[in-house]
Subunit: 455 residues, 2 copies
């Protein structure tokens, strides 16, 4: 069978909008050992145990806080007990922000409380702030509006974020949180509230970092829960002046210690480039951080342990549980300063929840196409479709990749990720054990190919 | 605010796996008239009425059959009554295949009936065929197996197709249907059965075209429903010889007439390149073809009608309801022979159900980036994320695009599309009217930008 017949067959099979993804493929046979390791991991119990223990015994672990330090100590103990080599912490210092009191109420015309949470890096109201609200349907309407409309007011920004499997709504609609506060501060607003960057309809607001440019004084910046945002919108639509009182007493506590936890499976060839698998150990302070990102740590460590238990891989596998990701990707930046991206054969990060992997993206380059196809073939029986040859990524591994480390993206189903993301609802009951196991199987198969052969 | 700050903010906002889609955007303000047309279309009732009428009064309409001819006559009447200009049919001839009897049973070791349907272009069993079954987990396992294993046998091919929002499972796992029968015929198999290329668990098998290379004699080729496929797999796993009897008496009825239905909204400038919006009018013979593709015809015609009712666009809008897509994209090929891809400013096709549009892909090129951004901005309030600048497509418009017509893809949510696709379950009750309206709003906004301004 020729490739051109495959292409014609795909075309004539009437895959209307799908021709781009219906590219003809030739999947090579999968190595027996790889298949065996992959299929055994579908019965994995290790990842659940790591995740349950971390999120029960440590709970929330905000970057730079004592809770995150407890998480590091727990991690060193756990990874050592699992038999990993060179288990260690690389500490770093970071300017640290912490949450304070959080209250919001509509004062007029229809007095009622609203559920609010502060965004990371929010300024403080220093007590209670009361001001008129000016609302916008989305960030771009705010950006196009006259700057003088918001001076002294509380800006409110809504959005139309959808729940997409690839999580693409976050980038497109999160901009109100990412840069809305900075713009509102530049325009002299008293404060800003955004509708939570989320896809749920629970009264659980979504926190998350925002950033102010150098020279811009941070203003109080909060997120209303999605139902509270919609309630405020209905009030604003009545056309009468709306006044809100807001209390957000978050503050900075100066330089604190965070760190990256590192563990290794030594490879047979000490000169071979390493394979790095990552997650971030820190979480926001309002939940035990199960989907974000305890699950990622559990998945990558369990997969590496399965390789270790099966023998010795050709390449050293480095497991990195990064610190202080949520509050500014501090761990990723520190790691890239100490290590060299070109020392890595492949880097990959699990940081998108605990639901199944649906696609594999890579950027290994044309000269590693055979390895890429072997990775695709190994994952194909798990229902994982081949994605891009030119895309990969992850927050913490981003700095290493900019230094030249090739990457791989095992894309998780994000359909419900932004229901939970950065809310108090990010708890263990949300994990589907079968999907968690599929993740471990995919990461195990990936490592068996990329760091293998295991002997 | 600078683009680089936007990029940095997106990075620091900790969008871990999402940085690729969190590309900084600058959304231009949306023209008031475009926004007005878009928002009014959220109350559209026209698309539902077209869809309900076509699928009730015509029902199934296989390419080349009298049912498809009735659909064309109905379409001319309907589009004329709606006020479109130059309503006409471009007929063409096509070699036509029709379904016959369809029965399958396990004869041994555990006698029981299986639910089967023939694939388009299947050969006939000429009565009842009984043979031993040899099964494979997926197409690539079959491709890698020794050719002699299947001579005289019935090949069975399974797959692990997932339900993905972008429909990517179809391309990756549909290969068993697309080219499995050809390979089985080349290897001397008596017949082939595939697990339905679908994501449901109903006893409604999925038909769909397959193709045999020139010189390869078609063998009987059918699809078991997903539950029947899984049942057969459990039987095969017992390790005893499994015999199936199969009856598929499909046949070819020679050259028959099909055609494309064309209607226009004349633009102010007769020399301006046209905008083409398309769907396919034909369906498979086992359902009234609601998701595939009555909905597409209803959506594009309703959007064009809304532009027509609002005034006159700058460019002529051509609405094309293609014929005989399912059975080989005959209408698209005929249209591209008669028309010239370079006469089109933009071509677009709706052929992925009735669920909401979640992403806009384009390939309008660097010199039309302002128009592309205007399209993205117009759709943003509908929860539609910006996608690729370099991808677009559709089965029927594919030939025009290969001639140089720029394209746009308004990507619909395909999460449940392959539950229904090519099954008897593709019926009107599956349509969510709110999502159908969102489609009409998106297509109306797209036309208001691409064919506008409307005066």
């Amino acid at each position: 069978m020729t490739k051109s017949f495959l292409a014609r067959a795909a075309l004539l099979a009437s895959a209307p909008l799908l021709l781009a993804s219906a590219q003809p493929m030739m999947m090579p046979p999968v190595d027996d050992k790889v298949a065996e390791l992959r299929d055994a991991a579908l019965d994995d119990e290790m990842a659940w145990d790591i995740l349950e223990t971390l999120t029960t015994e440590i709970g929330p672990r905000l970057g730079g806080t004592p809770a995150e330090a407890r998480a590091r100590a727990w991690s060193v103990e756990r990874l050592t007990a699992m038999g990993f080599s060179n288990v260690r912490v690389e500490e770093f210092q970071m300017d640290t922000w912490v949450r304070g009191e959080e209250r919001a109420s509509i004062v007029a015309p229809f007095p009622q409380d609203l559920v609010v949470t502060a965004l990371g890096n929010s300024g403080s109201t220093n007590g209670e702030l009361t001001a008129e609200v000016v609302g916008y349907d989305n960030f771009w309407d705010f950006a196009a509006a006259p700057a003088e409309d918001v001076a002294g007011k509380i800006v409110y920004i809504s959005h139309a974020m959808p729940a997409n499997q690839d999580g693409s709504g976050y980038g497109a609609y999160g901009v109100g949180r990412f840069v809305g506060p900075n713009m509102a501060a530049q325009r002299g607003a008293a404060a800003i509230l955004v509708k939570s960057i989320g896809t749920d309809h629970n009264r659980t607001p979504h926190t998350g970092n925002t950033n102010f440019q150098d020279g811009v004084t941070p203003i109080p910046a909060g997120a209303l829960s999605v139902p509270d945002g919609e309630q405020l919108e209905r009030v604003l639509e009545r056309g009468r002046p709306v006044t809100i009182s807001l209390t957000l007493t978050s503050r900075r506590i100066g330089m604190q210690t965070s760190g990256n936890v590192i563990a290794e499976v030594p490879g047979r060839d000490p000169d071979a480039k390493k394979v790095l698998v990552a997650c971030h150990l820190d979480s926001w302070d309002n939940s035990p951080g199960v989907f974000d990102d305890g699950a990622g740590c559990a998945i990558v460590a369990s997969a590496a342990k399965r390789i270790m238990d099966a023998g010795t891989p050709a390449r050293t596998i480095q497991v990195v549980w990064f610190g202080a990701e949520e509050v500014g990707i501090h761990g990723g930046a520190d790691f890239a300063e100490r290590h060299n991206g070109t020392d890595y054969h492949l880097v990959a990060e699990s940081d998108f929840g605990a639901d199944r992997i649906w696609k594999i993206d890579t950027n290994l380059g044309e000269d590693r196409k055979a390895e890429t196809d072997a990775l695709r073939a190994a994952l194909y029986p798990l229902g994982i479709v081949p994605g891009s040859y030119e895309a990969a990524g992850g927050a913490d591994i981003g700095p290493l990749m900019r230094e030249g480390a090739p990457g791989i993206g095992l894309r998780q189903d994000g359909t419900r990720y932004f229901d939970l993301h950065h809310t108090s609802n990010d708890t263990l009951d949300k994990v589907d054990p079968a999907q968690l196991k599929q993740n471990v199987a995919a990461w195990t198969a990936m490592l068996a190919v990329a760091a293998g052969p295991v002997e």
